[in-house]
Symmetry: D2
């Protein structure tokens, strides 16, 4: 039996649109809900609600807006269990991963609560004789976010808390594959004191997206998803005069140097490659081992660790990895493994035959490990978004860096080394936006900003952190002088004080 999943408009759960789409539990294959797919009218209502809420919210002092965020944070902590259950039920990831995701989201809420500090403009006395000038960061109006399935709770929290803390109102379109946690969270925000209409949630697909991209009331769009869609979002939103930041795909390489602490690196790579089933834009699907000795040690270490992994439903605490998100995605990922074998890579660990007893209809794929992956292969070039790790062998760091720089994506990367010089050279020159040194998933903390380079991000400002403040506000610069000193010089003593 599946329940309907509606929209949240002007503070209420609202039905809208005539189409629906099933939401599955990926651990069982069962349909758990029917998400409504917003039509243009529904999205229009959400935008109208946001537009109507804007003037009052924009005039609410930042400190009051910040306090709603503080209170919201408290509620998120109190309801963490319920939220994580929703994430795991619809996305499949293990509960520990859901909690990790939520925790990251909470940190973004926390950062949004610093907005009094973050909104400070720059003030200059005497830019000329008797002339002062200052800047303000004012709210844009209605803003929108379109978010992916892989972090159904966190990515929305990258966006709307800062947007609304800055005085904007917001329309969120979460992924239609796992929409429930975002909706639940939005209702907590209302409970925390966010006025109705400040945050609206519309479920939907391209039809809804296209309204958000073209409606002139929407001033800014944030997107996280795959690169082809990111490009479409960026081109279409910009064509309609909006500011857009669109984060796309990734193929993050981890370089392991000969002097690395291999045990450490292997342990770090396990989580980075197979955590959340590899469905992360900051996952590590490729290891570039410098030297064959290094490669052999890495392969050996990974194989041993993989042997210990337990795959099963995300709700079981003993499981390390859950199912993939949908049947279609499962088949796509398994197809990549087949493809890798065909292309000549060595499949060291083959997870294709995995069966999870009692969950035969779940979308489970065991961890896969390839050796001898090469740049020409599709498993090297394309984003797989599954539990498939490939090892590429090179002879020098320069060779490794050339590979990374030649790849179309530039989201994250990391280097494992003990050597200060190697790390410094790598971090300075690599054409990637987020770089780790012995940190496999260099996701910036909430008080820094998230963003890749090359075809991993379209736009100029990164997600969350300081850049988000700039993205969700427009600069106003005031220049002020006052005319001759009538009142000051006493010419108006007779001025009626009763005025």
């Amino acid at each position: 039996m599946s329940h309907p999943i509606p929209h949240l408009i002007n503070g209420r759960r609202t039905d809208g649109g005539t189409r629906t789409q099933p939401v599955y539990n990926p651990a069982t294959g069962a349909v758990s809900g029917q998400v409504q797919l917003a039509d243009a009218l529904t999205v229009d209502a959400a935008i109208a609600s946001a537009q109507a809420a804007f003037p009052a919210w924009r005039n609410t002092p930042p400190l009051k807006r910040a306090r709603v965020m503080s209170q919201f944070k408290v509620l998120l902590e109190q309801h963490a269990e319920a939220i994580c259950a929703l994430i795991t039920a619809e996305h499949g990831k293990v509960l520990a991963d859901s909690l990790g995701e939520l925790q990251r989201g909470i940190e973004n809420v926390e950062y949004a609560s610093y907005v009094t500090e973050l909104l400070k403009g720059e003030h200059s006395r005497n830019v000329g004789p008797g002339i002062d000038s200052w800047s303000e960061h004012q709210a844009l109006g209605v803003t929108a976010g379109i978010t992916p399935f892989n972090f159904p709770a966190m990515v929305p929290l990258w966006m709307w808390p800062m947007a609304v803390a800055c005085g904007n109102t917001f329309v969120l379109k979460p992924s239609e594959r796992d929409p429930s946690s975002a909706l639940y969270i939005a209702e907590l925000a209302l409970q925390a004191g966010l006025p109705p209409g400040v945050l609206n949630v519309v479920n939907g697909d391209k039809e809804a997206v296209d309204v958000l991209l073209t409606d002139p009331r929407v001033k800014a769009v944030s997107f996280v998803g795959s690169t082809p869609i990111a490009e479409y979002i960026y081109a279409t939103g910009c064509q309609h005069g909006k500011r857009v930041q669109a984060l796309g795909g990734a193929k993050n390489h981890a370089v392991v140097m000969p002097d690395a602490d291999i045990g450490n690196a292997v342990s770090a790579l396990m989580g980075a490659a197979y955590g959340s089933c590899g469905e992360r834009c900051m996952a590590i699907p490729l290891v570039v081992a410098v030297g064959d000795t290094t490669a052999d040690a890495v392969i050996a270490g990974l194989s041993a660790e993989i042997a210990k992994m337990k795959v099963g439903p995300g709700t079981e605490a003993s499981c390390d990895m859950g199912p993939l998100v949908t049947q279609a995605h499962f088949e796509k990922v398994r197809g990549y493994v087949d493809q890798g074998v065909n292309e000549g890579a060595t499949l060291v660990v083959d997870g294709r035959s995995l069966k999870v007893p009692g969950h035969e209809a779940g979308y489970f794929l065991g961890p896969c490990l390839f050796d001898h992956v090469k740049p020409g292969m599709r498993i090297y070039q394309e984003e797989i978004f599954g539990p498939v790790l490939g090892v590429v062998r090179v002879q020098t760091l320069q060779e490794a860096m050339d590979l990374i720089d030649a790849h179309e994506y530039g989201n994250g990367t990391c280097i494992f080394t003990r050597d200060g010089e190697a790390a410094r050279f790598f971090t300075d020159h690599i054409q990637v936006g987020m770089v780790g040194v012995n940190v496999p998933l260099p996701v910036p903390v909430a008080y820094h900003s998230f963003g890749g380079w090359k075809r991993s991000l379209f736009g100029d400002l990164h997600a969350y952190g300081p850049d988000a403040v700039r993205f969700y506000t427009k600069r106003k610069t005031i220049t002020q002088r006052w005319p001759s000193a009538g009142v000051r010089e006493g010419a108006v003593f007779s001025f009626p004080s009763s005025r």
Copy 2:
């Protein structure tokens, strides 16, 4: 019956010292407690506790320290009623004032919880070829605060939350006249997760202060109080090599221009002059009226408002103003009123004969209003710290500004006008640190900093806000280059990966 008020050392209420001093309820004159006065040994124990707690706390990631502050803020809100009761019982101010004070304190805790953002250093790649440089703001070690009776809850919260959020440990010596709220609050901080020893409270007098000023383990001292003591604190602490910020007295002037909204100004001045019985370093004890028409209107307005005021115990919700803090202070303030009459000022409203039925032993003085106060008089020159407002008459804004600039204090001031030019000229040129335009008590919000000029503050960094981060940290600047590229260039391929 009076209870003992001990110290808080290493997370526990601790007795210390052989001397005690009574704490009074100023609304009744009754003794409510006996505060222990710390001897050198007791202060030494507090410093030792702080010193011992420092290394672990300093190494705790800033985000974790920030979370203790967030949790502490929640507890302060939950226990607001109990805290305000303690403030009013020992200080006498009406409960609404106590709540206002606490609220301001909570905002400082809130700001301290942004410490991850506030501690960011500056990073420069390539200050020279291959050389990077960055700065960090590291904790000092043991820091100390010495706070006054007039804001027993708020002023400590100006200091220690930011100090500990920055990674320092702290010894607080609150006023011995109303120490209970600070102690209560400190215990809430422990409950919020502050490790024992990170915050210690010692009650005491000059004996305790002198240990804090001379012990080499104490790296920084913050003080708020009167100017003579501030000077002593600054000179003594600096002589012992510490960094010191010492905030002293005030005599804040409000200028009323002929074009001001007089009704508005009068209403604002009532609170600024008589709120908390005038026992505020940001109170307005002097109005400078520009033009006699203005002066007459201000006097008339104030007189009418004063007639409506109700003075009585702070616990009664209908009261606008409570008693003075102690019998001695009551006598000092009343003496100033006598003095003003003798000096020739016109006592328009005389509050000296006030009786509060049922509270005959309380330290109640009715609001007093002088006209024709002149610069030579002691009631013009000295800080009275009571419900005594004086009006000075001048003919031009320049005359008003000359008066203000000639006064030894420069804490706060304000101007009432509608005229942009007058306000701009005033704010630019006046020799005062905190300036209001139609704002009678221009106390900066928690995300700006608090501090006067001239003899109202000794030191260079102001209290709370951004300056507090700089005060409670020391700058470390690192310059880094790495030697030739052994590992990177592959010279060490044979390096054992098992290392």
Copy 3:
């Protein structure tokens, strides 16, 4: 006789393209030069030159890049006369205006020379235990600028000095109507030490622009011009994945309040309306007078001032206003005046019949002043870019603000008043990016940023100032930890020091 105006590629004047276009002296109508119009091959060569120069320039320490800017500034000051002569010869504005323009440009060079300070990233120690994180603002690669005829020297200096100071290389396409000053200035930059290829200039039209918008080597495009082109630039550049900032047209309103210093306002409006013949995106073509008394006084004042104006060749020091830029533009502007009359506005001063003796072939139009301009009229709605000022009459400030907010453009605006509240309400709420209070042309100083709202700017980051640093750099965030303490703990004492 007219000379050829080529390109500047890889440090040398270079011919390119087969098409040319005449450049006129607008004061005489004579052809002064033939500007070459770059074909795709020529633009490709410029981009290739910039691409080749990038790696070395990017690795040059910021302080060295800053010093080139300092030296360049000195050269600009030394060659000011020659530059201004070129501006006036091709654009027509009076020499004093040319000098003013150049001076503003120099201030942008000055700001670019602060780049060591401006490039500082944020450093956080202990984002987790033993983990540090910091951000860097790294150069993008090849960047491009497309600039308008009206500030042929200044607008290029808004762009490329900061772009190259940040480590980028640049291709500039100045206006083909007055290209010589930008070319001259670029050569001064070479002389100041800018390596060949770091700055390239291509002259041309849409053919050249389209290459810049679509070539994948160009990472960012800055544009200033009219709104339709700005929209095209933004849509096309973004469609090709670039970051784009595109500044468009304007129709700036000046509000005159009844309490304004009218003499002051009139004097300010004269320059704002007729300076540079109104060919400025920050010009004031509309006055909104609040109250008929105000309107009458403004009209009277302006009429009297206009009567004193002298129009003639920009090279004559006694002239206040020169010719329009081209014959076509002259006709367009004169057409608007005809149109205004037809639409029913009152033409108070008619400059259409102006003759400048000895310069009969010049593109001179006398100052025009309309009263009773109304929102429905084309002269209200459209950007005229000529010496045509219209007065709109309203009854309240709210009415004035509603007009401004309803207009498609939101570049600049100003209010003339003495009243603090009116100014504050206006600056807070008006939907315009640059706001003046008694300042008619609120162009931000070089250390703030320039940008309008609504259809006056497409993108999120403004031009020059702090926003330009963010626009011309991409954020890189590094997260770093180091593995177990082998070397520190002495395990490697036997490590060969000869390594």
Copy 4:
């Protein structure tokens, strides 16, 4: 024949005081000048001049002040040869060192010229409903600097350019041992457009210093010198209510790890130990070698390099090191070498018998190298300020760090290693303000700030860079609201516009 060296007061060379003191050429022992020692009257005149110049200078827009600095920088570059000749003639350092010193000073002038950017305050709209608040960094008034002999040109340039760029006026008291370059430089500043009285130079000794420390017109004092004097300056200045930053002595340790690039380290240490004859507060007089193998290699490397050094007059381009500054200092340093031998350290290289032919009366001491220096020894504990380098042998990095942290000084330190973890642990935990990683003299660049910890600096704000802006300004915080909307709401339509 020696010339008189007077003061510079109110823009003119001025005689003052009855006492004089000879200035020597340390390479020859000859007297080159007679510096006048200011009496109280002379210092008073300088302060009065600064006080008189303050109001106009403070009101000069920051951009104009910045331009004086830019122009001054150009003049410094043009007159570099003359300035370096003066430095070398009176201090003795080789010309290359003089040029290096001047270059660093010029970078501080450069940074001061960014003052428009650096003075920006923080602006917050809506701190409450309709209330705005912002901060300004206003000038202090008269400020003073007292500078040491070892960098006679650079240290004054750390101070006064930023002080005056911030709008202050200044009284400089350079070292009486080598005063001429500071005086020469001050005159260049006048030539660059600094108004008379904004910068004054008084030569003198304690008599002059004491006036600067006690005169109430002097608001801030910066000092660089030895620790006992720094303590005196800090205590005395603070006792008189001033803000003071007093930088004292140093004993900087360089740690050499077993994995360091020894050749690199040795080469770096040569300059750090013997450059400018060791008369630098950032010199390295102590090497802490981790492991005896390391120590042996360092000793061997240094001995070999020392053998190649040439000592002689600073004016000879072939010389690596010049004389000590005075005969007295020469004897003091030589005494330390004797002392080291007596204390049991091994004198590996003995420079005591050095003779420079033709300069027998010069104060030349050859480079000295000790091995087996131990913490108890005076040559370990005290600042020698001469060409004497000692090697301490330890077995672990922890041992090295414990030594450094136990030392009374904490100015600079560095570590030579290739290992990221060792460097990170060292930079995080070491109790020293300026830390180098493979950088022997980690003097921060001009856009960072300079300052040690422990007894190397008294005060809270460091020298030059961002901290200097805060030190040389006082924060003013304005809070502004405007009364009811009379003008805006049209109530004053009849208001006379002629007002």
